[in-house]
């Protein structure tokens, strides 16, 4: 490793951590805010649960999306040493490009936060990587098919989140709220819901997480294992629900108290899914930098080093502990119009969608998916008043973020190139 490579590696690690810190600071509140608001979780409890599940999601399921951002968006062969269009400088230029992408996304994010724009961390980093690719190696160096798939997923994911949130709330309405004895019904439904959430969590966890350990476990093993865990969780939930006292002047108060607890589960689910999907925004470019620094080669097929994922998870947890808790507190205070049963439905919809897209290796925006899911619950008559102007803000944020982060990445790259090459 040359001195220049070492310096770029260190700068890259710092930029990656900065980006991960940003993700933890800004996005984590989505998962935990409503639970703190409804009083089901204390602020400290929310921070601890978020830390555990964000880290778990990042480390256990995060590598797929990481791979897409690292080597799926750009045709990295262009940067191959000697044979590529940049000759011997290729690998160094790619490293610098990735550093530029991280810095551009981080700066854009911080700017957006200052001016209160609803900007997605995912969109920032994808825009930055594409911008660097187009402006250095030309339009043909970008894998437009992958970019198109990613862009399509940005439209599909909020819609899918909305559909699932809608379906879950309609289900709760039919089985619990509309029933003549909602308190009795929630006692029967709660274990089923716990089982369902745990089943999905474990399926994704076993499918992806244990693949590294077991090397393609048989599908029936995966299914049976997850089902067993889910049944155990449901049984536990049943015992817990039986112990609660049903005495409440209004049966809906009792229903919402139970959902307050269930919502902690979906909030953890969101944190897990968020960690899985969004860690890649920081770690994708960083993994590319680390790989080039270690091998001096450009290749797409090597797995993402475990310690890099750990670093990303660590960065997110630090962001959450140093800044994110403030955002959670604010959101928790201000979201009072959302009842726990609605929060449960929205979070269930959003987390399931984010997790599926993570397993497909597609980087999507957790925030936008959650917004879609909340609107889905609203369309099912679950929420007293929703401001649909946010949808316009989201579309605007796409239109602004992609070119802004792309141009920013190109400018930063030009500066880095002038310094290092």
């Amino acid at each position: 490793m040359t001195t220049v490579t070492l310096i770029v590696l260190i700068v890259g690690l710092t930029a990656g951590l900065y980006m991960a810190w940003n993700i933890g600071a800004n996005d984590v509140a989505n998962a935990m805010g409503t639970s703190v608001g409804s009083g089901a979780l204390t602020l400290a409890g929310a921070v601890i649960i978020a830390a555990i599940f964000e880290f778990g999601g990042a480390v256990l399921v995060g590598s797929r999306v990481t791979r897409t951002i690292r080597s799926g968006i750009l045709d990295t062969a262009v940067f191959a040493p000697d044979v590529g269009m940049f000759g011997a400088d290729g690998p160094l230029l790619l490293m610098l490009g990735m550093v530029a992408a991280l810095l551009a996304a981080g700066i854009w994010l911080q700017l957006a936060t200052t001016y209160g724009l609803p900007v997605s961390t995912t969109h920032s980093i994808v825009g930055a990587v594409v911008g660097f690719g187009v402006l250095t190696a030309g339009i043909s160096s970008v894998e437009w098919l992958t970019v198109l798939r990613i862009a399509a997923s940005w439209v599909i994911s909020p819609a899918a989140g909305g559909l699932l949130g809608f379906a879950m709330f309609v289900y709760l309405r039919r089985t619990i709220l509309r029933h003549s004895d909602p308190a009795e019904r929630v006692r029967r439904q709660a274990p089923l819901l716990v089982g369902l959430v745990v089943l999905i969590l474990f399926l994704s966890f076993v499918y992806k997480g244990l693949k590294n350990v077991l090397h393609d476990p048989a599908w029936w093993m995966v299914l049976a294992g997850s089902a067993l865990v889910a049944i155990a969780a449901a049984a536990g939930a049943r015992v817990a629900v039986e112990r609660t006292s049903r005495i409440a002047p209004d049966p809906y108060q009792y229903v919402e108290r139970i959902f307050g607890w269930l919502q902690i589960l979906t909030a953890s689910f969101v944190a897990f899914a968020h960690g899985a999907n969004d860690v890649a925004n920081a770690i994708g470019p960083l993994a590319a930098i680390v790989h080039i620094a270690q091998s001096g080669e450009i290749s797409g097929a090597v797995p993402v080093p475990f310690w890099v994922l750990m670093l990303g998870g660590f960065g997110i947890v630090v962001g959450l502990a140093t800044w994110g808790y403030k955002v959670i507190r604010t959101i928790g205070r201000e979201i009072t119009e959302m009842l726990p049963s609605r929060g449960f439905s929205a979070e269930f919809g959003a987390a399931s969608v984010v997790l599926v897209f993570s397993l497909l290796g597609l980087p999507i925006s957790t925030t936008h998916t959650l917004v879609g899911a909340v609107i889905g619950v609203g369309l099912a008559h679950g929420i007293s008043a929703l401001n649909l102007k946010v949808v316009r803000n989201i579309v605007n944020s796409w239109i602004i973020t992609l070119p802004a982060s792309a141009v920013l990445a190109a400018v930063i790259f030009a500066i880095l190139r002038w310094i290092f090459v």
Binding site: N26, D27, A29, N30, G33, T113, G116, L117, P118, F169, R173, L177, R178, H179, S180, P182, D250, Y252, Q253, V255, E256, V327, T330, I331, E334, I335, E337, M338, L339, T367, H368, L370, V371, V374, I375, G378, L379, A380, H381, G382, I383, S384, A385, L386, N387, L388, K389, V390, N393, I394
Partner: protein, 224 residues
């Protein structure tokens, strides 16, 4: 993440209940007003009429606040027009009570002792109709947590049916009182007869508006 926070608009439902409570404050002053009039205490009638004006004005403010929460970009679980219609009709109750105060404060109509029992019966009946509506209005927040479904809906529908009955009875008492006034038309001056007709009419309006408000509430539940 700010996207999530901006997503939640202010709910109109709490304010609808608050508006009901404010209108109830106005209705509570109706019986003291009539009693003060029957006791011949014109100063007290004046005072109560002004107090009714003030409470009605407060109700107006809440009504406008509800409307301010209903821009087209807000997605609601019930029809926006129904909410507008609901507060408008509910506000009509307070307006009618205000009218009674205005008529009595402007000029004291000549009153015969035999008017008294019938008048009080009519007043109590319209207050009863309004009280039934306020009971139903208090359920709005529970309805919201039940997402406008389930046993709570049936309960409110039954309440609305009761308001209909109460309004029918108020109609009957209003006609009875009017007849009584006409039967004694030669014993009091014509302007007083005219005044009593107006009073009977606006008292009837209290129950009418309560009924209409209940109907819109029912409609809101049916369309949700």
């Amino acid at each position: 993440m700010r996207g999530i926070l901006k997503l939640f608009a202010k709910s109109p439902f709490g304010l609808m209940v608050k508006h009901a409570a404010q209108v109830e404050e106005t209705v509570k002053l109706l019986r003291p007003l009539i009693e003060a009039f029957l006791a011949g205490d014109t100063a007290r009638v004046q005072e109560l009429s002004e107090e009714i004006d003030d409470t009605e004005h407060e109700a107006d403010k809440i009504k406008n606040a509800v409307r301010a929460r209903l821009p087209k970009s807000v997605l609601l679980p019930v029809n926006r027009g129904d909410i507008m219609g609901y507060v408008k009709e509910q506000d009509g109750i307070a307006d009618a009570v205000e009218d009674v105060g205005v008529i009595l404060a402007m000029r004291s109509p000549a009153c015969l002792p035999e008017f008294e029992p019938n008048l009080l019966k009519l007043v109590d009946q319209v207050i009863h109709a309004a009280a039934l509506l306020f009971d139903a209005a208090r359920a709005i927040e529970t309805l919201q947590s039940a997402s406008f479904a389930g046993p709570e809906v049936k309960k409110v529908q039954k309440m609305v049916a009761k308001i209909h009955e109460a309004e029918g009875e108020a109609d009957r008492l209003q006609a009875e009182f009017s007849k009584l006034v006409f039967a004694n038309e030669s014993r009091i001056d014509a302007i007083s007869v005219f005044q009593w007709m107006r009073i009977a009419e606006v008292l009837g309006d209290v129950a009418d508006h309560a009924e209409n408000t209940g109907d819109i509430l029912k409609l809101m539940l049916a369309s949700s």
